[in-house]
């Protein structure tokens, strides 16, 4: 990347809210139903129908705004945004124009180990559009499209950021953190592949250090975190080339073509639509009770960043360990439960991030009490690490027996009795006089061989530390 330009990125994120029924009617929001089977006169905009606002959608918007440190506006209202597009059955979308439900806020997140802040400009409530299935590879080469209005009218919030983001990777990290926050507060399932989290990006370049923003381009159709980052990388390079060749950036919307790995013109500013916003006459403005808003703010759960800092500060975990538990909240929750019976954070996280993570992804999580018991056996040196792994595998098959019972049943208890082990060691040395001689003459690497022999003779049960000490005693005692 050329050092001559600053990259300026702002995002618009659509988050579908996890309500049972739609925003303004009682049709189901369930995903995957037969097309056009969750529609009614209200969400189809048939004459004479009257919308009624879903209280849960308003609540979720306030919770989301609070989690993003936004000003919550008790007064907000709904407007009609008028345009013709096949995914919009009414030919207008009910949204919030001048008076959105949430005002300025921000989200903090890490880029590597540096804490970054991106400002939120506003959050507004609106209805989702229908789903289009294009006959061709993309909208551009489709002769016709099929429309399903099941999604039309599902409540969503649009989160608009300030143009604070300076790199494509940062945009992705911001979006990942935003998704995590939405998951923690449980207002959305944020599945990008099902479209319940979508993102449009605005990007422009400006001469390094210049206070004046360049002409921006909007990129649509970003269906994954990877697509967001790749599309921004592509667009940054495209704009740089245009500028370096003395050209001008045209203000336009471009669509990301995943297959081709490039952005393509969708519509230019010349035919930018005129939305003719006006207040929806059927929906009176919202006047929320400030006490209710305060109570929702107070009832927010622990958010990802708070959790990260708590795990680092109180549990003394590394950034990497803490981030693992934060990014996989099911592991984070399990960690907390194991800690109740076995309060050793480092040991727990080591177990969870190791073989456990792989096995749990395949089979689901284990009972935290069982994990605590296993960790206790390892801590008390009743079993060694390898035996610990075996027991873990065993627990994923059945949790009926406790780790201690498995140890007893299999006779896997670690052999730490020095007198017993000394006999084994003496036997092995007696069987290998040549090797003993060579070791005593300086072939140090043979030490590992003796350890291996003892472990083999004890079926892996010997306490490696005790074996180590005994062998040193016996071998080095007679060294030349």
């Amino acid at each position: 990347m050329s050092r001559k330009y600053d990259t300026v990125i702002g995002l618009e994120i659509h988050v579908a809210l996890l309500t049972e029924s739609k925003f303004l009617c009682s049709c189901s929001t369930e995903f995957g139903a037969p097309p056009n089977s969750h529609c009614c006169p209200i969400c189809l905009g048939l004459p004479g129908s009257l919308p009624a606002i879903n209280a849960k959608a308003v609540e979720y918007a306030v919770i989301a705004g609070s989690a993003l440190n936004c000003v919550i506006n008790p007064f907000s209202k709904f407007d009609r945004k008028n345009y013709f597009y096949p995914d919009l059955p009414k030919a207008y979308q009910i949204t919030q124009d001048a008076y959105p439900i949430c005002g300025p806020g921000y989200l903090d997140y890490y880029v590597q180990d540096k804490l970054e802040r991106t400002k939120i400009v506003r959050i507004h409530l609106e209805e989702e559009a229908g789903k289009l299935i294009h006959s061709g590879e993309s909208i551009i080469d489709s002769e016709y499209s099929l429309v399903d209005y099941n999604r039309a009218g599902i409540p969503l919030i649009e989160i608009v950021t300030a143009p604070d983001i300076t790199a494509p990777e940062q945009a992705r990290l911001f979006l990942e953190q935003l998704r995590l926050v939405m998951n923690y507060i449980q207002v959305s399932d944020t599945k990008m592949e099902e479209g319940s989290l979508r993102c449009d990006a605005n990007i422009s370049l400006k001469p390094k250090g210049s206070p004046v923003l360049g002409t921006k381009v909007e990129i649509k159709n970003l269906n994954s975190f990877r697509a967001l980052e790749r599309a921004l990388e592509f667009e940054k390079e495209r704009q740089r080339e245009v500028l370096e060749q003395g050209g001008q950036i045209e203000q336009e919307s471009r669509t990301w073509d995943e297959r081709a790995g490039k952005t393509m013109t969708m519509r230019s500013k010349a035919d930018a639509p005129d939305y003719r916003f006006f207040p929806d006459p059927n929906l009176p403005p919202l006047n929320l009770d400030p006490v209710w808003i305060e109570n929702l703010k107070k009832s927010l759960p622990e958010l990802p960043l708070e959790r990260l800092h708590r795990l680092k500060d109180q549990d003394r975990l590394s950034h990497y360990e803490a981030a693992f538990l934060v990014n996989y909240p099911d592991f984070g929750d399990l960690f907390e439960k194991v800690k109740v019976t076995f309060p050793e954070p480092k040991a727990i996280v080591n177990l969870l991030m190791g073989d456990y993570a792989r096995l749990a992804r395949e089979h689901g999580h284990l009972n935290p009490v069982r994990l605590g018991e296993l960790l206790q056996l390892l801590a008390d040196e009743v079993i060694n690490k390898n035996q610990g792994k075996d027991i873990l595998e065993e627990l994923f098959k059945t949790e009926e027996d406790s780790p201690a019972e498995i140890v007893e049943k299999r006779g896997w208890r670690m052999l730490s009795d020095a007198a017993q082990l000394r006999k084994v060691v003496e036997g092995i040395l007696a069987d290998n006089p040549d090797l003993v001689g060579r070791f005593r003459n300086g072939e140090n690497k043979l030490f590992g061989f003796f350890i291996g022999q003892v472990m083999r003779a004890t079926e892996g049960k010997a306490d490696p530390e005790v074996v180590n000490n005994l062998l040193r005693e016996e071998l080095e005692g007679g060294r030349n």
Binding site: P34, A52, P273, L283
Partner: protein, 97 residues
């Protein structure tokens, strides 16, 4: 007087196809309308709170409960072209990338 092109542009936004007489009529009507607005703009409202909505009642919010939807066949009955349970619409965007 508001010009022809403006009337045609506004009509296009609403997908209206106007005849010559209608264009002239709306040039006059819209000009009258805007003149009236210009007069209203002269009134001193600095001491008044802005009216953002004509209705002052509080909205009745609805509980988040699922109710019945229309049958698919009824939903599709208003469509000019349908296929496999979907509405079918002609090409959406013009041009190539």
């Amino acid at each position: 007087m508001i010009d022809r092109e403006e009337v045609i542009r506004i009509a296009a936004l609403a997908r209206l196809d106007l005849s010559e007489e209608e264009i002239e009529k709306y040039q006059r009507d819209l000009t009258d309308f805007l003149t009236a607005c210009a007069q209203l703009k002269k009134v001193d409202v600095s001491q008044l709170r802005a009216t953002s909505h004509a209705v002052t009642i509080k909205p009745r919010l609805r509980q988040d409960r699922v109710g019945p939807s229309l049958k698919q066949t009824d939903v599709l009955s208003g469509g000019a072209d349908v296929q496999d349970g979907f509405f079918r619409v002609p090409r959406i965007v013009e041009g190539q990338g």
